[in-house]
Amino acid sequence: KGKGGSMHMYAPHFYGGNGIVGAQVPVGAGIALACSYQGNNQLCVTLYGDGAANQGQIFETFNMAALWKLPCIFICENNKYGMGTAVERAAASTDYYKRGDFIPGLRVDGMDVLCVREATRFAAEHCRAGKGPIVMELQTYRYHGHSMSDPGVSYRTREEIQEVRSKSDPISMLKERMLANNMASAEEFKEIDIAIRKEVEEAAQFATLDPEPPLDELCDHIFHNEPPLEVRGTNPWSKLKSVS
């Protein structure tokens, strides 16, 4: 509802993003445990980046997941930079798929759509067969900066960005492959482009015109199931209501 901002979007089965990177990995293992406990043949996919791959809690999670054979796919999105730090300067081993040690790992070309699909299928079957967790490293790239405070060019050259964009862009690669194999024509692609543009514009419109949550909701959802309580605030005489 806007209280978390763009980083914190949630949906059914989508448990959201985390500001403290690496913190979502133990949470993911917990969700995987719930899946296996409830016996619903589901698994949990937990994503983190090459920067977060150096956090201690990830290794704690690997240990627990392997010990208890949790159906969890750990995906490391390796875009070569942890905001401003290149992977060679941050990690003693840049083979992120091997960092699971006792957990099997796959290295996947993250810029190839079909490759990612097949690898995920393999990983999902692995987990569903009860063999325990698996690590996947998706090798990919980031064109822009990491965030609003990162220009994106102070630690790498523009030529590098251009090169990746022209040679390994996933959408272009797939498009060329389909054209070369006569799976679709250029006109069909144009139609798809137009439809996508329309959808994105509609979504952007919806997001910008959507009203902001009312001020009464500032303190809602701090706790659960409690009778509405008063939250102390900036002044002792003004208290806000919190509804759980």
């Binding site: 509802k1 806007g2 209280k3 978390g4 901002g5 763009s6 980083m7 914190h8 985390n18 500001g19 403290i20 990177v21 690496g22 920067g51 977060a52 791959a53 150096n54 956090q55 201690g56 809690q57 942890g82 905001m83 401003g84 730090t85 300067r89 941050a90 990690a91 609003m148 405070s149 990162d150 102070s154 630690y155 902001e212 949550p213 001020l215 500032l218 303190c219 701090i222 939250v231 102390r232 605030g233 900036t234 002044n235 002792p236 005489w237 806000l240 919190s242």
Partner: protein, 356 residues
């Protein structure tokens, strides 16, 4: 002398813009009556606090001064430390290119990559590593990218750094460690880039929590390993973010003179004698106190100040001590302008205190 108090003055066209641009200490404003203030009672009531702001003269006892903003001051302090202390090292996430707040710009080029280097993304590791370096004798300056990220390192700070000297009977200490962590809301930070964790650490004996206020303060903290109490590792918590709304709120124009506003950001010096004695003197003079910070009000540092001041100056107080702080919720994204204790909330609180 870093002023612990700002006097907000009412003036026809005076706007207090102290703080963002000046380096060195920010003294209390010199106040003088405006020539247009007459002695008639009506105008006396209206212009009782009609003062003209006069900025402090530039301090000369430290040599040349230069006008810098906060980040430049920090960079300058780090620069001085690295040049005067051959054992000093700076490390943290993304410090090599200058850091997200540009506090380490140019230092790596100047001092080499063995003294200014990036660490992987591991706060617990960074702080633990810093403690080790400090214990061995190096002046270690660890940077946590945002204060919100400091919690994985909480154990290292509270259980290791704070207690090292105490538990070893002064045989070992990590007094040479400084941890820099920018805190506070930045406009779009939301839950994990806007927190103010000073209260958590102020509660821990053995570490010093101090703001980036003046260059002298920063430099002192790098070299200071020997505080009056049993503080050990030195930690600086806030690094003011330049476009912070609370900072802008210093441009206040309509306040009466006998109210003191203390903003936690700019005020939190060593929380030992200096800070409190200044508060006590001010309270004795004016009888009222308002403490404000962005952190949630329950258990925030304002509570500590409030409680100590009422213990010492109970009979001098003419109104209950007012705390204008953040709400007891996680830091919201969209509601940020309503969440933070801005000038209007402070104004409201001051009015109530005056009319108590």
């Amino acid at each position: 002398m870093a002023a612990a108090v700002r006097f907000f003055i009412r003036g026809a066209n005076s706007r207090l813009s102290v703080g963002t641009g000046t380096s060195g200490s920010l003294g209390a404003a010199l106040l003088k009556l405006s020539p247009s203030c007459s002695s008639r009672s009506k105008t006396q009531r209206r212009h009782a606090a009609h003062f003209t702001y006069q900025p402090d003269p530039v301090p000369t006892q430290y040599g040349e001064t230069q006008k810098m903003n906060l980040f430049q001051s920090v960079t300058s302090a780090l620069d001085n430390t690295l040049s005067s202390d051959p054992t000093a090292v700076i490390f943290g996430e993304d410090v090599a290119f200058g850091g997200v707040f540009r506090c380490t710009v140019g230092l790596r080029d100047k001092y080499g990559k063995d003294r200014v280097f990036n660490t992987p993304l591991c706060e617990q590791g960074i702080v633990g590593f810093g403690i080790g370096a400090a214990v061995a004798g190096a002046t270690a300056i660890a940077e946590i990218q945002f204060a919100d990220y400091i919690y994985p390192a909480f154990d290292q700070i509270v259980n290791e750094a704070a207690k090292y000297r105490y538990r070893s009977g002064n045989l070992f200490d990590c007094g040479n460690l400084t941890i820099r962590a920018p805190w506070g809301c930045v406009g779009h930070g939301s839950l994990y880039h806007s927190q103010s964790p000073e209260a958590f650490f102020a509660h821990c004996p053995g570490i010093k929590v101090s703001p980036h206020k003046v260059k002298d303060n920063i430099k002192c903290s790098f070299t200071d390993g020997d505080p009056p109490h049993h503080s050990r590792a030195v930690m600086q918590v806030p690094s003011q973010i330049i476009n912070n709304p609370l900072q802008k709120s210093q441009d206040l124009t309509k306040y009466k003179i006998n109210t003191i506003i203390i903003t936690m950001k700019a005020r939190l010096k060593r929380w030992i004698c200096d800070l409190l004695s200044v508060f006590f003197q001010s309270v004795v003079k004016t009888g009222r106190l308002l403490v404000s910070h962005e952190a949630p009000v329950t258990g925030g540092f304002a509570a500590e100040i409030s409680s100590t001041v009422q213990e010492e100056c109970f009979l001098n107080l003419e109104a209950p001590i007012s705390r204008v702080c953040g709400y007891d919720t996680p830091f919201p994204h969209i509601f940020e302008p309503f969440y933070i204790p801005d000038k209007w909330k402070c104004f409201e609180a001051i009015k109530r205190m005056i009319n108590y």
